[in-house]
Symmetry: C2
Subunit: 141 residues, 2 copies
Amino acid sequence: MKAIGRHIILEMWGCQNLDSVQTAEQALREMVDALDVNLLDLHVYPFSPVGVTGMAIVSESHLVIHTWPEHGYAAVDIFTCGAPREPQAAVDVLRRHYQPERVGVMEINRGQMDLPQHELATPTRLHPQQSRGSRTPAYSA
Amino acid sequence: MKAIGRHIILEMWGCQNLDSVQTAEQALREMVDALDVNLLDLHVYPFSPVGVTGMAIVSESHLVIHTWPEHGYAAVDIFTCGAPREPQAAVDVLRRHYQPERVGVMEINRGQMDLPQHELATPTRLHPQQSRGSRTPAYSA
């Protein structure tokens, strides 16, 4: 199904370097390179007492990192519309900079289009008799 | 279950005012007010030939609007950690400014903590005999 954008949601736990403005900036710049997207703007905001937010606005949408060093946790979003590379390239950059012990990834299609009518007209549900397990009735009429 | 942040993902179709920098900026400012969060930075980027990206960095995380006027579509993310108000307040602002014909909303807990041990120890699965439909075996031993 056609969609306008891809949104990768990353949950990283057990991370290093979470309170570093430099790490966030460097990671964002390398993610931009890895995805081969066009950087328009990049800002990193340190918080008190700890934590940073890093934001890269790109022509293809945005990349954002929020860190909570007190939890060893970083939330990362990679939202791209028409990026030429697979998002995995950016995940590899994050793994290198933050060395997470655990990473959770979810991908959401953004701007998902309705199915075209001709696809809707094609029966896609399995007939009950073809369902998983192919159970045969135990009786016959 | 405890989580660090709330992430509201909005899909808005059939929208008005999608190519307006002013609308994006005004909507973001009113969302910040509606959520009672602390604005750190706000930028709106117009694209050629059409479309805008608007980004508000707040102490509590971020708000972002991407628009595709050619599809009547806007993707909005409201990511907050510790916002005092319910996200619905921000959705109301968006409805007013963009007048979408259809809105899809999904909420994701970000930084979801593991269940505490005492919760894990409590059996929460239904016993098979209490499952939906409460089917009784057709035979007994």
